[in-house]
Homo-oligomer: 367 residues x 2
């Protein structure tokens, strides 16, 4: 956040900054999304929806889980939310009471500890390592957990590593007897292996998902939960009090998103894969080796220990010297204060420019 | 909620229900709202916005406060939120810690006690009375407040009474030394006197407002806060963690809403006033006298003590016998379990039909 604000400050003064620090797809939404959204405005589908969401959308989400992931869920289990932020909040509030411990996996999405604290929980951090490819060490996790841990938040594919947990890990988690909130907002953005969901291994898990990342619908604020049937009523009441319902036009736009044809999706995934490969190769060429396989989402998490003990200072220095924004690892957990996250969510050309700037910076650094 | 669910159940079976229980305008949004929304979709203004909101919208809100209400606020003080629900939640979380007491004024909007509890506060209820025209008795309120009361939530114009607090009350509140969250979501829907805001009397108050009621933009989920400058940074951080930003297309639609011409607004207010007068007169004709002056919002709160000790049973009976939905007073506080709320937010014709059904019911009841 500090980097982004500093970058915006420079931009106000007319400096041209290349943003590889932002986790937001820059590509335009598909034309069918625009079309269904405009149609819903024209037709007046803009009143409060049912608090659980527009039924047609919930049915289509359930169908997608069946077709793409082989998981059978009922439309009743789908709760449409105001972005995946609201989905995570509804799940958290449903599961924890004041003082309950919530386990997050480091490196983690920076909002997790903040939200847990806002809602009265205690944060417990379980660490993963680059040397393990950021896979969760299940034996260690089992030992780590105590009875006071009420919820484990999983993020696979992950921000900031771009790693998906493998089947063995996902399957193992269901034997731990802990509530699992599986944040799968990057699901489907997989470039080497098939997309997964924890629901293939654990029908008691709560899934957080949404349209922001895969369909590039960030400003539309539309997400959803998949919850076990017993939790629906409680979550509905929370939704009514906290949100009333998700934005109705965005819900209709999402109905459009789920009709995008497979060719368009395949091309998008190909394009992301190309950008991922460019990022890893360019970094490697300048001496920054990525010691694991970022197979999903749109992030690469680089170990910068060779260059710094404090990647926040390094990130500020990169911004100052070569006008490139990158995200310091400290944001994702104190163990990663020597790391930097590169996002390849912007255009191929923009990423090229950014990595050229990085090369220039590293050259100056090592000379 | 029980009434609405029962009504929907009947509707599924093909029965025609008249809804006077719902607090949602049924009129279509203005054409300029549709136009600006579609334009923002076309132009791709659909990425995350600044977490505080689109600057142009915040500037226009500040301008509106100056022109319509004579209050000078800076665009910096306007935080655009996902509906007024989010505005209220951000204000509450900013002000209270676990165990703090929050005072609400009975009869109250049902979400208030729920939200206070969700965020760890304790609810204290200060009662107002029909015989006082639902004005707050400021002398009694002063005695009622203790040091443990951290926040007072005001709702003027009010749901469910349709009453605006008078200038003397609004002015008095600033001398109490308690944080005030003034929920002014119905502001501007005033039919007898000028619209007011607490900011005319108290520049430390936090105002909750939005586009759902006045501009009939319920499903667009767009509200805002006006906050003292010292609170902006804290609220921004909460917003980033909990919501990221309000829906971007809705923000652009709201820029359109603020350009609606005065004639259109005047006609809308005339139409509401006509519907209000119809409601009060028809109720009076059937022997239900409204003993106070509902001068704003779109509700009339009827004392049904003559007919019942339990207006929830009465409301269910009305629904069963004449297919009319009304809101039982219990929802708005236990002191009002003999009251019923009628909403005149639907069309004149629909209100006529509903009140005809009510007359038929009362006739059967008294025979």
């Amino acid at each position: 956040m500090e980097i982004l604000e500093k970058a915006q400050e420079y931009e106000k003064k007319g400096r041209k900054i290349t943003h590889l620090e932002i986790g937001e797809p820059t590509q335009k939404v598909s034309s069918i999304i625009k079309k269904t959204a405009k149609n819903s405005i024209e037709k007046g589908y803009d009143r409060y929806s049912n608090s659980l969401g527009v039924l047609e959308l919930r049915q289509m989400v359930a169908k997608k889980y069946k077709e793409n992931l082989g998981v059978k869920i009922s439309p009743d289990q789908v709760v449409v939310t105001t972005g995946s932020s609201a989905a995570l909040i509804l799940a958290l509030i449903s599961l924890i009471k004041r003082g309950d411990q919530v386990v997050i996996v480091e490196p983690y999405y920076p909002c997790y500890p903040q939200l847990i604290k806002i809602f009265g929980g205690k944060v417990r951090v379980f660490k993963t390592h680059e040397r393990d490819g950021y896979q969760i060490d299940t034996i260690k996790l089992k030992k780590f957990l105590s009875k006071k841990d009420k919820v484990l938040i999983l993020n696979s594919p992950s921000n900031p590593t771009g790693v998906s947990q493998n089947k063995e890990v996902l399957s193992f988690l269901s034997f731990l007897g802990i509530n699992i909130i599986s944040d799968e907002i990057y699901q489907g953005l997989n470039y080497d292996l098939d997309a997964e969901t924890i629901l293939q291994h654990n029908d008691k898990a709560i899934v957080v998902n949404g349209f922001s990342k895969f369909y590039s619908m960030t400003g539309w604020r539309l997400g959803y939960l998949v919850v076990p049937k017993g939790m629906i009523r409680g979550i509905q009441k929370l939704q009514q009090n906290m949100y009333i319902c998700a934005p109705t036009i965005s819900q209709h736009a999402a109905i459009g998103a789920l009709q995008i044809d497979n060719n368009e999706i395949r091309n998008m995934l190909k394009s992301y894969k190309k950008r991922r490969d460019l990022t890893i190769k360019s970094l490697s060429n300048m001496g920054i080796d990525i010691g694991y396989s970022p197979d999903s989402s749109f992030y690469v998490f680089a170990n910068m220990s060779k260059y710094t003990d404090n990647s926040l200072d390094l990130s500020l220095d990169i911004l100052n010297k070569v006008s490139l924004g990158v995200a310091p690892g400290l944001d994702f957990g104190p163990s990663f204060k020597r790391y930097i996250r590169f996002s390849y969510s912007s255009s191929y050309r923009n990423i090229q420019i950014g990595l050229d700037k990085m090369r220039e910076y590293i050259k100056g650094y090592t000379e």
